[in-house]
Amino acid sequence: MCATCGCGSEGPRVTTFEALAGSGQGHGHGHTPQDHDHEHEHAEPAPRTVVLEERVLARNDLLAAENRRRLAERGVVAVNLMSSPGSGKTTLLARTVRELAPRPMAVVEGDQETLLDAERIRATGCPVVQINTGEGCHLDAAMLRRALDALAVAAGSLVFVENVGNLVCPALFDLGETSRVVVMSVTEGADKPVKYPHMFRTADLVLVNKVDLLPYVDFDPELCAERIRRINPTTQVLLVSATTGEGLAAWYAWLGTSGTAG
Protein backbone atom coordinates (compact mmCIF):
# COMPACT_ATOMS: atom_id res chain seq x y z
CA MET A 1 0.00 0.00 0.00
CA CYS A 2 1.35 3.36 -1.03
CA ALA A 3 0.92 6.02 1.63
CA THR A 4 1.35 8.89 -0.84
CA CYS A 5 -1.68 8.24 -3.01
CA GLY A 6 -3.22 5.11 -1.52
CA CYS A 7 -2.26 2.85 -4.43
CA GLY A 8 -3.03 -0.78 -3.67
CA SER A 9 -2.52 -3.99 -5.58
CA GLU A 10 -6.06 -4.57 -6.82
CA GLY A 11 -5.90 -4.93 -10.58
CA PRO A 12 -7.96 -3.26 -13.29
CA ARG A 13 -11.52 -4.36 -14.12
CA VAL A 14 -12.99 -4.36 -17.60
CA THR A 15 -16.77 -3.99 -17.95
CA THR A 16 -18.47 -4.60 -21.25
CA PHE A 17 -21.91 -3.32 -22.17
CA GLU A 18 -24.46 -5.29 -24.14
CA ALA A 19 -26.47 -3.02 -26.41
CA LEU A 20 -29.42 -1.90 -24.32
CA ALA A 21 -29.09 -4.89 -21.97
CA GLY A 22 -28.34 -4.82 -18.25
CA SER A 23 -24.94 -3.49 -17.36
CA GLY A 24 -22.13 -6.04 -17.32
CA GLN A 25 -20.40 -7.20 -14.21
CA GLY A 26 -16.74 -6.40 -13.90
CA HIS A 27 -14.43 -9.16 -12.98
CA GLY A 28 -11.33 -8.81 -10.93
CA HIS A 29 -7.97 -9.32 -12.42
CA GLY A 30 -5.50 -10.18 -9.75
CA HIS A 31 -1.97 -8.97 -10.11
CA THR A 32 -0.14 -11.75 -8.37
CA PRO A 33 2.37 -10.39 -5.95
CA GLN A 34 5.50 -12.45 -5.78
CA ASP A 35 5.14 -14.84 -2.91
CA HIS A 36 8.10 -17.12 -3.04
CA ASP A 37 9.32 -18.97 -0.04
CA HIS A 38 13.00 -18.57 -0.42
CA GLU A 39 15.44 -21.17 0.78
CA HIS A 40 18.53 -19.42 2.05
CA GLU A 41 21.92 -21.00 1.77
CA HIS A 42 23.69 -20.76 5.08
CA ALA A 43 27.09 -20.23 3.52
CA GLU A 44 26.39 -16.90 1.80
CA PRO A 45 28.09 -16.94 -1.60
CA ALA A 46 29.60 -13.70 -2.85
CA PRO A 47 27.06 -11.68 -4.82
CA ARG A 48 27.55 -11.60 -8.56
CA THR A 49 26.43 -8.87 -10.88
CA VAL A 50 23.92 -9.64 -13.61
CA VAL A 51 23.78 -6.98 -16.32
CA LEU A 52 20.21 -6.43 -17.50
CA GLU A 53 20.21 -3.05 -19.33
CA GLU A 54 16.47 -3.34 -19.86
CA ARG A 55 14.21 -0.36 -20.33
CA VAL A 56 11.64 -0.26 -17.56
CA LEU A 57 8.80 0.39 -19.98
CA ALA A 58 10.04 -2.17 -22.54
CA ARG A 59 7.23 -4.62 -21.79
CA ASN A 60 4.51 -2.03 -22.02
CA ASP A 61 6.05 -0.75 -25.23
CA LEU A 62 6.13 -4.26 -26.72
CA LEU A 63 2.44 -4.72 -25.95
CA ALA A 64 1.76 -1.25 -27.34
CA ALA A 65 3.55 -2.15 -30.58
CA GLU A 66 1.41 -5.28 -30.80
CA ASN A 67 -1.78 -3.22 -30.26
CA ARG A 68 -0.63 -0.78 -32.93
CA ARG A 69 0.01 -3.59 -35.40
CA ARG A 70 -3.37 -5.22 -34.75
CA LEU A 71 -5.21 -1.91 -35.07
CA ALA A 72 -3.44 -1.05 -38.32
CA GLU A 73 -4.18 -4.48 -39.79
CA ARG A 74 -7.88 -3.84 -39.35
CA GLY A 75 -7.75 -0.22 -40.45
CA VAL A 76 -8.75 0.96 -36.98
CA VAL A 77 -7.70 4.43 -35.83
CA ALA A 78 -7.35 4.76 -32.04
CA VAL A 79 -7.24 8.19 -30.44
CA ASN A 80 -5.94 8.41 -26.87
CA LEU A 81 -7.60 11.35 -25.08
CA MET A 82 -5.79 12.59 -21.99
CA SER A 83 -6.55 15.46 -19.64
CA SER A 84 -7.01 16.48 -16.06
CA PRO A 85 -10.30 15.45 -14.43
CA GLY A 86 -13.18 17.72 -15.41
CA SER A 87 -11.81 19.09 -18.69
CA GLY A 88 -14.90 17.86 -20.51
CA LYS A 89 -13.56 14.74 -22.24
CA THR A 90 -16.73 12.71 -21.81
CA THR A 91 -19.01 15.57 -22.88
CA LEU A 92 -16.80 16.07 -25.92
CA LEU A 93 -16.85 12.34 -26.74
CA ALA A 94 -20.59 11.94 -26.30
CA ARG A 95 -21.19 14.85 -28.69
CA THR A 96 -18.52 13.63 -31.12
CA VAL A 97 -19.91 10.09 -31.44
CA ARG A 98 -23.44 11.50 -31.90
CA GLU A 99 -22.37 13.94 -34.59
CA LEU A 100 -20.04 11.58 -36.47
CA ALA A 101 -22.58 8.73 -36.57
CA PRO A 102 -23.03 6.54 -38.60
CA ARG A 103 -19.25 6.30 -38.96
CA PRO A 104 -18.20 3.04 -37.18
CA MET A 105 -16.90 4.07 -33.77
CA ALA A 106 -16.26 2.63 -30.32
CA VAL A 107 -15.17 4.09 -26.99
CA VAL A 108 -12.90 2.75 -24.26
CA GLU A 109 -13.52 4.56 -20.97
CA GLY A 110 -10.83 4.64 -18.30
CA ASP A 111 -11.57 5.67 -14.71
CA GLN A 112 -10.49 4.52 -11.30
CA GLU A 113 -14.06 3.70 -10.32
CA THR A 114 -17.69 3.74 -11.53
CA LEU A 115 -19.37 3.05 -14.85
CA LEU A 116 -20.72 6.62 -15.09
CA ASP A 117 -18.78 7.68 -18.17
CA ALA A 118 -19.51 4.46 -20.03
CA GLU A 119 -23.21 4.89 -19.28
CA ARG A 120 -23.11 8.38 -20.83
CA ILE A 121 -21.48 7.02 -23.98
CA ARG A 122 -23.79 4.02 -24.09
CA ALA A 123 -26.78 6.37 -24.10
CA THR A 124 -25.57 7.58 -27.52
CA GLY A 125 -25.76 4.03 -28.91
CA CYS A 126 -22.00 3.81 -29.45
CA PRO A 127 -20.29 0.55 -28.39
CA VAL A 128 -18.36 1.15 -25.18
CA VAL A 129 -16.26 -0.70 -22.64
CA GLN A 130 -15.28 0.63 -19.23
CA ILE A 131 -11.88 -0.06 -17.68
CA ASN A 132 -11.81 0.61 -13.95
CA THR A 133 -8.19 0.82 -12.90
CA GLY A 134 -8.97 0.56 -9.19
CA GLU A 135 -6.03 2.26 -7.55
CA GLY A 136 -4.19 2.74 -10.86
CA CYS A 137 -3.76 6.26 -12.15
CA HIS A 138 -3.36 5.58 -15.90
CA LEU A 139 -4.19 3.12 -18.66
CA ASP A 140 -1.45 0.88 -20.03
CA ALA A 141 -1.07 -1.18 -23.18
CA ALA A 142 -2.24 -4.43 -21.53
CA MET A 143 -5.47 -2.77 -20.37
CA LEU A 144 -6.19 -1.43 -23.85
CA ARG A 145 -5.56 -4.88 -25.29
CA ARG A 146 -8.16 -6.40 -22.97
CA ALA A 147 -10.62 -3.62 -23.75
CA LEU A 148 -10.20 -4.04 -27.51
CA ASP A 149 -10.67 -7.80 -27.19
CA ALA A 150 -13.85 -7.22 -25.20
CA LEU A 151 -15.17 -4.68 -27.71
CA ALA A 152 -14.56 -6.72 -30.88
CA VAL A 153 -14.08 -3.47 -32.81
CA ALA A 154 -15.32 -3.47 -36.42
CA ALA A 155 -12.70 -3.05 -39.13
CA GLY A 156 -12.25 0.56 -40.19
CA SER A 157 -13.57 1.93 -36.88
CA LEU A 158 -12.54 5.05 -35.06
CA VAL A 159 -11.83 4.14 -31.42
CA PHE A 160 -11.67 6.81 -28.73
CA VAL A 161 -9.74 5.87 -25.61
CA GLU A 162 -10.61 8.17 -22.71
CA ASN A 163 -7.66 7.85 -20.37
CA VAL A 164 -7.87 8.29 -16.60
CA GLY A 165 -8.23 11.99 -15.78
CA ASN A 166 -4.67 12.88 -14.78
CA LEU A 167 -2.15 15.23 -16.39
CA VAL A 168 0.88 13.30 -15.11
CA CYS A 169 0.87 9.52 -15.20
CA PRO A 170 -0.81 8.64 -18.54
CA ALA A 171 1.89 10.56 -20.42
CA LEU A 172 4.51 7.85 -19.97
CA PHE A 173 2.47 4.88 -21.14
CA ASP A 174 2.22 4.13 -24.85
CA LEU A 175 -1.05 2.29 -25.49
CA GLY A 176 -0.40 1.55 -29.15
CA GLU A 177 -2.76 4.39 -30.11
CA THR A 178 -2.70 6.03 -33.54
CA SER A 179 -2.61 9.52 -32.09
CA ARG A 180 -2.61 11.35 -28.78
CA VAL A 181 -4.90 14.22 -27.97
CA VAL A 182 -4.64 16.34 -24.83
CA VAL A 183 -7.82 18.10 -23.76
CA MET A 184 -7.54 21.11 -21.47
CA SER A 185 -10.15 23.67 -20.56
CA VAL A 186 -10.07 27.42 -20.16
CA THR A 187 -11.04 27.10 -16.49
CA GLU A 188 -7.78 25.28 -15.75
CA GLY A 189 -5.53 28.21 -16.61
CA ALA A 190 -3.02 28.78 -19.39
CA ASP A 191 -0.08 27.62 -17.28
CA LYS A 192 -0.90 23.89 -17.45
CA PRO A 193 1.24 23.11 -20.53
CA VAL A 194 4.41 24.34 -18.82
CA LYS A 195 3.48 22.78 -15.48
CA TYR A 196 2.83 19.35 -17.03
CA PRO A 197 5.24 19.28 -19.99
CA HIS A 198 5.47 15.48 -20.31
CA MET A 199 1.78 15.33 -21.15
CA PHE A 200 1.93 18.05 -23.78
CA ARG A 201 5.25 16.97 -25.25
CA THR A 202 3.82 13.93 -27.05
CA ALA A 203 0.43 15.35 -28.07
CA ASP A 204 -0.49 15.30 -31.75
CA LEU A 205 -3.32 17.70 -30.99
CA VAL A 206 -4.34 19.90 -28.06
CA LEU A 207 -8.01 20.76 -27.68
CA VAL A 208 -8.70 23.80 -25.51
CA ASN A 209 -12.27 23.16 -24.38
CA LYS A 210 -14.99 25.30 -22.75
CA VAL A 211 -14.19 28.38 -24.85
CA ASP A 212 -17.83 29.41 -24.28
CA LEU A 213 -16.64 30.36 -20.76
CA LEU A 214 -13.90 32.73 -22.00
CA PRO A 215 -15.90 35.88 -21.10
CA TYR A 216 -15.96 34.76 -17.46
CA VAL A 217 -12.43 33.53 -16.84
CA ASP A 218 -8.94 35.00 -16.98
CA PHE A 219 -7.52 32.86 -19.78
CA ASP A 220 -5.41 34.06 -22.68
CA PRO A 221 -5.73 31.58 -25.58
CA GLU A 222 -2.75 33.10 -27.41
CA LEU A 223 -0.49 32.79 -24.38
CA CYS A 224 -1.67 29.23 -23.85
CA ALA A 225 -0.94 28.26 -27.47
CA GLU A 226 2.49 29.88 -27.22
CA ARG A 227 3.24 27.85 -24.09
CA ILE A 228 2.06 24.64 -25.74
CA ARG A 229 4.40 25.31 -28.68
CA ARG A 230 7.31 25.88 -26.32
CA ILE A 231 6.85 22.27 -25.20
CA ASN A 232 5.80 20.84 -28.54
CA PRO A 233 6.46 23.04 -31.58
CA THR A 234 4.72 20.73 -34.07
CA THR A 235 1.42 20.08 -32.31
CA GLN A 236 -1.87 21.60 -33.41
CA VAL A 237 -4.07 23.60 -31.05
CA LEU A 238 -7.83 23.90 -31.55
CA LEU A 239 -10.23 26.02 -29.48
CA VAL A 240 -13.52 24.21 -28.95
CA SER A 241 -16.65 24.10 -26.85
CA ALA A 242 -18.22 20.69 -26.42
CA THR A 243 -21.27 22.47 -24.98
CA THR A 244 -22.01 24.96 -27.78
CA GLY A 245 -20.28 23.11 -30.62
CA GLU A 246 -17.93 26.01 -31.38
CA GLY A 247 -14.78 24.82 -33.15
CA LEU A 248 -15.89 21.20 -33.37
CA ALA A 249 -15.89 21.20 -37.17
CA ALA A 250 -12.10 21.57 -37.04
CA TRP A 251 -11.87 18.67 -34.55
CA TYR A 252 -13.95 16.47 -36.84
CA ALA A 253 -11.81 17.48 -39.80
CA TRP A 254 -8.69 16.57 -37.82
CA LEU A 255 -10.20 13.18 -36.96
CA GLY A 256 -10.88 12.65 -40.65
CA THR A 257 -7.18 12.89 -41.39
CA SER A 258 -5.67 11.54 -38.16
CA GLY A 259 -5.29 8.01 -39.52
CA THR A 260 -1.84 9.05 -40.63
CA ALA A 261 -0.95 11.11 -37.55
CA GLY A 262 1.00 10.00 -34.52
Binding site: P33, P47, I231, P233
Partner: protein, 109 residues
Amino acid sequence: MHELAITQGIVEMIVERTDSARVTAVYLRIGKVSGVVPEAVRFCFDLVAAGSPVEGARLEIDEPPGRARCRSCGCAFAVEGLVVLCPCGSADVEVVGGDELLVRAVEVV
Protein backbone atom coordinates in the same frame (compact mmCIF):
# COMPACT_ATOMS: atom_id res chain seq x y z
CA MET B 1 1.94 8.37 -8.82
CA HIS B 2 2.84 6.20 -11.82
CA GLU B 3 6.02 5.34 -9.87
CA LEU B 4 4.09 2.56 -8.13
CA ALA B 5 3.28 0.85 -11.46
CA ILE B 6 6.81 1.60 -12.69
CA THR B 7 8.33 0.03 -9.57
CA GLN B 8 6.08 -3.02 -9.83
CA GLY B 9 7.26 -3.43 -13.41
CA ILE B 10 10.88 -3.16 -12.29
CA VAL B 11 10.54 -5.83 -9.59
CA GLU B 12 8.55 -8.19 -11.85
CA MET B 13 11.13 -7.83 -14.62
CA ILE B 14 14.04 -8.52 -12.25
CA VAL B 15 12.40 -11.61 -10.74
CA GLU B 16 11.76 -12.96 -14.22
CA ARG B 17 15.19 -12.14 -15.63
CA THR B 18 17.03 -13.65 -12.65
CA ASP B 19 14.90 -16.81 -12.31
CA SER B 20 13.82 -15.74 -8.83
CA ALA B 21 17.40 -15.65 -7.51
CA ARG B 22 17.83 -13.66 -4.31
CA VAL B 23 18.70 -10.11 -5.29
CA THR B 24 20.88 -8.04 -2.96
CA ALA B 25 21.28 -4.87 -5.04
CA VAL B 26 19.44 -3.16 -7.89
CA TYR B 27 21.05 -0.53 -10.14
CA LEU B 28 18.61 1.79 -11.89
CA ARG B 29 19.13 4.70 -14.22
CA ILE B 30 16.42 7.36 -13.99
CA GLY B 31 17.21 10.40 -16.11
CA LYS B 32 16.46 13.86 -14.76
CA VAL B 33 13.85 14.50 -17.46
CA SER B 34 12.40 10.96 -17.63
CA GLY B 35 9.16 11.96 -15.91
CA VAL B 36 9.83 9.54 -13.05
CA VAL B 37 10.74 10.75 -9.58
CA PRO B 38 13.58 8.67 -8.04
CA GLU B 39 12.42 9.45 -4.49
CA ALA B 40 8.98 8.08 -5.29
CA VAL B 41 10.53 4.90 -6.74
CA ARG B 42 12.58 4.53 -3.55
CA PHE B 43 9.44 5.03 -1.51
CA CYS B 44 7.56 2.31 -3.42
CA PHE B 45 10.47 -0.09 -3.80
CA ASP B 46 10.48 -1.65 -0.33
CA LEU B 47 6.71 -2.03 -0.38
CA VAL B 48 6.67 -3.62 -3.83
CA ALA B 49 9.70 -5.86 -3.15
CA ALA B 50 8.31 -7.19 0.13
CA GLY B 51 7.72 -10.93 -0.09
CA SER B 52 9.64 -11.23 -3.38
CA PRO B 53 13.24 -12.39 -3.98
CA VAL B 54 14.12 -8.69 -4.29
CA GLU B 55 13.05 -7.92 -0.71
CA GLY B 56 15.73 -6.06 1.22
CA ALA B 57 17.86 -5.32 -1.85
CA ARG B 58 19.92 -2.13 -1.84
CA LEU B 59 18.65 0.35 -4.42
CA GLU B 60 21.19 2.46 -6.32
CA ILE B 61 19.89 5.06 -8.74
CA ASP B 62 22.03 7.14 -11.03
CA GLU B 63 20.40 10.23 -12.50
CA PRO B 64 21.99 11.46 -15.72
CA PRO B 65 21.28 15.13 -16.44
CA GLY B 66 19.00 16.28 -19.23
CA ARG B 67 20.61 17.13 -22.55
CA ALA B 68 18.97 18.73 -25.55
CA ARG B 69 19.78 19.62 -29.11
CA CYS B 70 18.34 22.54 -31.00
CA ARG B 71 16.75 21.59 -34.32
CA SER B 72 17.19 25.17 -35.55
CA CYS B 73 20.87 25.88 -34.88
CA GLY B 74 22.12 22.39 -34.00
CA CYS B 75 23.76 23.35 -30.72
CA ALA B 76 23.63 20.94 -27.76
CA PHE B 77 23.12 22.06 -24.17
CA ALA B 78 22.12 20.90 -20.70
CA VAL B 79 18.48 21.17 -19.60
CA GLU B 80 16.82 21.01 -16.20
CA GLY B 81 13.34 20.19 -17.45
CA LEU B 82 11.26 19.90 -20.58
CA VAL B 83 10.40 23.58 -20.86
CA VAL B 84 13.49 24.60 -22.74
CA LEU B 85 14.65 27.32 -25.05
CA CYS B 86 17.86 27.12 -27.03
CA PRO B 87 20.28 30.01 -26.41
CA CYS B 88 19.53 30.97 -30.04
CA GLY B 89 15.90 31.58 -29.03
CA SER B 90 14.32 28.58 -30.76
CA ALA B 91 11.84 26.38 -28.89
CA ASP B 92 12.27 23.59 -31.45
CA VAL B 93 14.46 21.56 -29.14
CA GLU B 94 14.84 17.81 -28.93
CA VAL B 95 15.70 16.04 -25.68
CA VAL B 96 18.63 13.74 -26.46
CA GLY B 97 19.61 12.55 -22.96
CA GLY B 98 18.40 12.33 -19.41
CA ASP B 99 15.14 10.64 -20.39
CA GLU B 100 16.43 7.13 -19.70
CA LEU B 101 14.50 4.72 -17.50
CA LEU B 102 16.57 1.54 -17.23
CA VAL B 103 17.28 -1.41 -14.99
CA ARG B 104 21.03 -1.50 -15.55
CA ALA B 105 22.06 -4.48 -13.42
CA VAL B 106 21.38 -6.45 -10.27
CA GLU B 107 23.52 -8.31 -7.77
CA VAL B 108 22.34 -11.82 -6.96
CA VAL B 109 23.55 -14.45 -4.53
